[in-house]
Symmetry: C2
Subunit: 255 residues, 2 copies
Amino acid sequence: MAKVHLLFRKEDIDETALANHKIAVVFDILLATSTITAALSFGAKTVIPAVSGLEAKEHARLLPNDSYELVGEYEGRTIGGFHSPAPLSLKDISEGKTIVLSTTNGTVAIRKAMAASHLYVGSLLNGQALARHICRHHETETIVAICAGSSGRFCLEDFYGAGYFIACLLMNGISLNDLSDSAAAAFLFYQQYRTVSSGRTILKSAGVGRWLMAHGLESDIDYISEQGTTSVIPLFQKTKWGGEITDVTRRSFSL
Amino acid sequence: MAKVHLLFRKEDIDETALANHKIAVVFDILLATSTITAALSFGAKTVIPAVSGLEAKEHARLLPNDSYELVGEYEGRTIGGFHSPAPLSLKDISEGKTIVLSTTNGTVAIRKAMAASHLYVGSLLNGQALARHICRHHETETIVAICAGSSGRFCLEDFYGAGYFIACLLMNGISLNDLSDSAAAAFLFYQQYRTVSSGRTILKSAGVGRWLMAHGLESDIDYISEQGTTSVIPLFQKTKWGGEITDVTRRSFSL
């Protein structure tokens, strides 16, 4: 049976260890990994995670005109010429598009974890479907839940989101004894604050949550804090220029 | 008012940042920092934290015969010629003695944190007295709770112990808004498992706890999981050969 481990910050990623047949799931609940899940659920064809605005523009230059949207922020400010990465703002622009996304933490964490044998993107929105998919397809590998954090610091909302995902793993056959101490801490934490309204309070009281609230993004936090509302399974796949994230479920349907 | 931050592992210590007027409190609940608190409460004169068995022996050579006891483990095994660091085993040998202590994680974490302007040793046993003392004597400095962890990995019991200490800080005038996300996570975690019996279950279910249980140390865990039973305030002070830990309360009485 799979073992489950948790990293508190992207800076704790050991790329060599991940390369050794690990299943990685990245959580940047406010905002990037919720944004990616949402964009795919809004009909985006694919999401390209870039490590900087410059890299995002370079990727975009390779794409046909009108096939993509540039989305991103750096240190909390929307990059000039890009759309805001607040998920609700992507509702009407995602359908059929490639979203080229650059964020300070989440997309950087995803790229740092790309050595994993399979790399997924997690959020509260898709935790249940993701856990079911991973338990079904990766029965023996170690699962590493990676909290992105913010500029080197731990973020409470990522710990909460990873805790929800681990709680969903437990409902799909993983045992408490398979959790490392860090994974157990996130699960035991989530378990005590598991209602959507408690989770919402946690997200709004966290450092990044308070900053987003002060910048008028309360309705995005309300949206992000819904648990298990979408069955999107965002999977990262390497490409020659970095990688792209697609929804595994949709891909299977189109086969 | 003081700010409170938490580090998940001794490997996350930034010695330069600590040197900038930080108050550090180290937690290695199973066992070193509980052992130090216990030894001082059993009447030990001072505890010398060594980073290895070899260094402990070198320190001991500088002390008068019969004035000290060598105590320590490396990777869970008692060092040859040393006493076990299980706290209850020190009950009858500590009175008036210098305890020279070497452990795999706790004493190493203490020495790694010695750049702090004040460095304390925390446990469940003394969390309440320690929080009161720190709030009284360090009103404006940032407090950094350091979870020692085990060989680079996060330990659930340290997170729980630090959470108890932070809960005690809140009872002594620190506000929730003064906690970093990591400190808030530990507090919110502790708050849901705050009874002694819940804490005991957490300690026994953690990785190190399970190992200690398998090695017959359940009664030591039972002892360690008592909350706020001693008013010992262990303070580290630099010496020319490293440092020593004494009980601040006893020192004040003897002045």
